[in-house]
């Protein structure tokens, strides 16, 4: 394995994405900063509506036009600022340097073309190979992702494949040109639990083979614990906490993170109630002033509404956006989800 | 995004609405707006181009085109309104029955399918020959052709609505069938049916004008835009105003209804949009 260089592969700085709304503008991504090193998996965790998907779409240049747009910040990738590139330039990067797979394998493949045709299409779009070579590559990738009988399967139509198989095809398609970064947006959410593990293992294995970085987006902390080296927790368009996985699970500092970890049902011991975070994710149009989480936070004080806290450095590589973080430093009961 | 345009009608559709209102007024108050008796013939003044007395000119019998157009509004609006009433009422009856009571379904829908195999105008034509000319018969004839489309739509909607959980809930709480239909199914069909009605109005107007044009619709004694075009055809080169004004009226009316119908459809639940076929 190559030694990790110090320059991150992807660095998002203060990214903002805006959408017009009835009352002006809303910002599904509001000042997000992240970085992913080479060969690293970063887990981006949050409930639906937190802006995690939109962040990834922004990286890919796929923010829904015509209304949405990147209105601030930068996305640095291999020396270029993706936020400033034209669509044509982004087209070159998509599928080749950065690939993305989505949540719904059942509907993410075009039903009228064969699986092979769709993989080949992506390859040919980047002018890398001849059609013959592309097809061979497609078969090769299908084999790599563990699809039995790839020479036959390559001519199958998607509707003949199960959800798990289709997601494997998506992975094959995404990795066919050896991208350096794979963005996986809830890749296992729509799959059966047993298949989830298989897919995650597959992704791990493929990643190790080729020093690929992964941005793993999910609301499922269990997945993150298993696959990611670093974790960032997102809420209402902002990063609330980020740290190494181990550190986050051992010493979660943000009340939201704690709430998330707390709400995981536990098998051991006596559980009387399921703990949930009170309240609901606020709509982006009616965000509270100051700290965006304060309406649901059991530790909120008046000062929390005055101004939004910046990211405090709580330890090496561990950042948290909470005023009271040092008061909440006690480790979790029961050692967290692990 | 859609929520912007939903908040105010496109300006042009507003124009369409205004035109419809204007038309309504013309139709209601024809005798007061028209400058002459539409049937009055003044052979002395025949084929005059539009001027101060005869706003739209006169036809080959010396009849004032403007007045005839005004009264024609009455004819057209009555006709289309009749078609809507006819096709909607029967369509809803048949559609809901076949959609709800699965036993009759195959027979009724088969019949409808067969009827739909005939090009609408031809069907109307044959019906008019059987029934004879006259406003009522034209309404029935043209109404019958729109019946099939309406029934199809109502049928589809009924099938969908039937599967809704709240209907199931109502049935299991012992609510009577008739009540369910009246209180739950019908009201939920209102919106798409209203949209359908606007478009039916527009297209049935065209169809009836076509029948008039062919000489198979409303008898020539009643001024109608289609009739005027049929009669004016011979004077295409000599007196184009015979064709311009009635034709323009038809176009503007149909256009207005289409515009309004479009806006109505946009404001409705997008789910229903897919169920409205044919437009």
């Amino acid at each position: 394995m190559l030694p990790k260089t110090n320059t991150p592969l992807l660095e998002i700085r203060d990214l903002r994405v805006s959408f017009p709304s009835a009352s002006g503008h809303i910002f599904p991504v509001d000042g997000v900063s992240l970085s992913i090193a080479r060969g690293e998996t970063l887990g981006l965790v949050g409930e639906s509506g937190s802006g995690k998907s939109m962040t990834s779409l922004a990286v890919m240049g796929l923010v829904p036009r015509p209304h949405g747009k990147i209105c601030g910040g930068g996305i640095s990738f291999k020396g270029r600022n993706l936020a400033e590139l034209s669509n044509e330039e982004m087209m070159n990067i998509r599928g080749k340097d950065i690939s993305m797979i989505f949540q719904e394998p059942m509907t993410s493949l075009n039903p009228v073309y064969t699986v092979g045709d769709q993989i080949v299409e992506g390859i040919l779009a980047h002018g890398a190979m001849s059609r013959r070579e592309a097809r061979d590559r497609a078969v090769e990738m299908l084999a790599k992702v563990g699809i039995p009988g790839p020479e036959k399967r390559v001519d199958s139509y998607p509707h003949l494949l199960s959800g798990g198989m289709r997601q494997r095809v998506m992975i094959a398609m995404a990795l066919s040109l050896d991208p350096e970064l794979l963005i996986a947006d809830e890749p296992t959410t729509a799959l059966d639990v047993t298949i989830q593990a298989q897919i995650l293992d597959l992704m791990e294995g493929l990643k190790k083979e080729r020093t690929m970085s992964v941005l793993l987006i999910t609301h499922n902390l269990g997945i993150v614990a298993e696959s990611a080296q670093r974790v960032a927790v997102m809420y209402a368009g902002r990063i609330l906490e980020h740290a190494s996985t181990e550190e986050l699970f051992r010493t979660p500092l943000h009340p939201y993170t704690r709430g998330l970890l707390d709400s995981i049902p536990r098998m051991e011991g006596r559980v009387k109630h399921l703990r949930a975070i009170p309240g609901m994710v606020p709509s982006l149009e009616t965000l509270p002033s100051g700290c965006k989480f304060r309406n649901r936070c059991v530790y909120a004080e008046d000062l929390c509404g005055a101004a939004e806290p910046p990211l405090h450095e709580a330890g090496p590589g561990h950042f948290v956006r909470c005023r009271r973080w040092h008061e909440l430093r006690a480790p979790m009961e029961g050692g967290g989800a692990k | 995004m859609k929520f912007f345009s939903a908040f105010y009608k496109r300006k042009i559709a507003l124009g369409g609405l205004l035109f419809i209102v204007l038309l309504l007024l013309f139709a209601l108050f024809s005798p007061y707006i028209a400058t002459f008796d539409p049937q009055e013939m003044n052979p002395v003044d025949k084929l005059r181009s539009p001027d101060g007395t005869y706003y739209f000119g006169t036809d080959n019998f010396g009849r004032d085109i403007f007045s005839r157009v005004v009264f024609g509004a009455r004819t057209s609006l009555t006709g289309s309104a009749g078609v809507i009433l006819f096709s909607l009422s029967i369509g809803v009856l048949i559609g809901v029955s076949s959609g709800y009571f699965r036993r009759i379904e195959p027979y009724l829908m088969r019949l409808i399918d067969v009827l739909m195999a005939f090009p609408p105008l031809l069907l109307a034509l044959v019906l008019v020959s059987i029934l004879g000319r006259g406003m009522g018969n034209v309404i029935i004839a043209v109404g019958a052709t729109y019946l099939t489309r309406t029934t199809r739509i109502v049928y589809g909607l009924t099938l969908k609505l039937r599967e809704e959980p709240y209907i199931e809930a109502a049935i299991s709480s012992g609510v009577k069938q008739k009540w369910i239909i009246l209180k739950h199914i019908l009201p939920n069909m209102m919106s798409p049916l209203i949209v359908q009605a606007t478009f039916t109005f527009a297209f049935s107007l065209l169809d009836m004008a076509a029948l008039d044009f062919l000489g198979l619709g409303i008898p020539p004694s009643i001024p109608s835009w289609g009739n005027m075009l049929s009669e004016g055809r011979m004077y295409l080169t000599r007196a184009p105003w015979l064709l311009i004004f009635p034709g323009a009226c038809i176009v503007l009316t149909v256009l207005s209804f289409n515009l309004v119908g479009d806006v109505l459809r946009d404001r409705l639940d997008p789910h229903f949009r897919r169920d409205i076929e044919g437009v």
Partner: protein
């Protein structure tokens, strides 16, 4: 299909015989004596009970004999085929026009959703859908035939007989007249179909692969809209085939639409029945073809 056809023919038969008026009387005119009228009726078999008449007709049809036209005194099939040339040519060329104009504009409108171009096209297509065909025809005639003298006003000398393909120019205006409102429909349908498909997940995937917008629009969005579009085109074709009465009247074309009207007016029962049966048959054939095309277009249908 057969039972539906049968049902259709029964309906048509009963309807037509409900039309008041006696063909024999019409043929012989006012001067004829009652005996003469009765004699003709018997000769034509019109005095038998309806179901007998129907039975005879049906047995003839099965053998390919559609009966004899009361007016033309020729086999009905022959009469129909005479006029078929005009109607088929009009239908085919109008369809071509509709496809060549309607589909691309529909695609363009969808791709440039809500742009000025889209609004312009939407407005124009709504306008054309609101114009009565006969009015459009008359105006076109006024402009191109009378004022500019580029094209003939009316009639259509047969191409098959004369071998003269320049006669097609007689069909230019009628085809445009027919194509206009129908294109409007196709434009709107293509556009809305594409807008619907554009929301699909696989479109997102296609973009994420780095495909150009053009490739996404055509290979993914349009390709998956084809089913709706083909369906609508099929329906349009049938409507064109026989619903052209008005255009044929305006341009004095010897087509099937006018034949129907005239036959109805003349109470030429066998002809009417023959035409309507053939049209219904055509309709069902086209439906079948459209259904088959679905299987071609969508692999999911193939396997079920």
């Amino acid at each position: 299909m057969i039972p539906s056809l049968l049902l259709a023919s029964i309906i048509v038969f009963s309807f037509i015989h409900l039309i008041p008026g006696d063909p024999a009387q019409i043929m012989l005119g006012d001067q004829a004596t009652p005996e003469q009228v009765q004699g003709l009726r018997e000769a034509m078999g019109l005095d038998r009970p309806l179901y007998v008449q129907y039975g005879r007709w049906l047995s003839g049809v099965v053998r390919g004999d559609f009966g004899t036209s009361i007016f033309f005194h020729q086999p009905v099939l022959h009469v129909i085929l005479d006029r078929a040339e005009t109607s088929v040519l009009i239908a085919v060329f109008s369809m071509m026009l509709i496809i060549l104009v309607g589909v691309p504009i529909g695609i363009l409108s969808a791709v440039r959703y809500n742009s000025r171009l889209d609004q312009l096209f939407s407005g124009l297509s709504m306008l054309f859908a609101s114009v009565p065909t006969f009015w459009l025809g008359l105006n076109l005639m006024l402009l191109f035939s009378v004022m500019l003298r580029w094209l003939p006003t009316s009639g259509f000398p047969s191409i098959l007989e004369s071998g003269d393909w320049t006669n097609l120019r007689y069909l230019v205006l009628p085809c445009i007249t027919l194509a206009a409102p129908n294109s409007a429909l196709i434009i709107r349908l293509t556009r809305s179909s594409m807008l619907d498909v554009a929301k699909a997940d696989y479109v997102k995937t296609a973009r994420a692969k780095g495909l150009s917008e053009g490739a996404v629009n055509i290979r993914h969005i349009f390709r998956n809209s084809l089913i709706s579009v083909v369906s609508a085109l099929g329906f349009t074709f049938v409507a064109l085939m026989a619903g052209t009465v008005v255009t044929e009247t305006v341009f004095s074309l010897p087509g099937i639409g006018r034949l129907v009207v005239e036959s109805v007016l003349r109470r030429d029962y066998p002809t009417i029945q023959g035409i309507i049966l053939i049209i219904a048959f055509l309709y069902m054939v086209i439906n079948l073809l459209v259904d088959l095309s679905f299987a071609l277009l969508d692999p999911r249908i193939r396997y079920s």
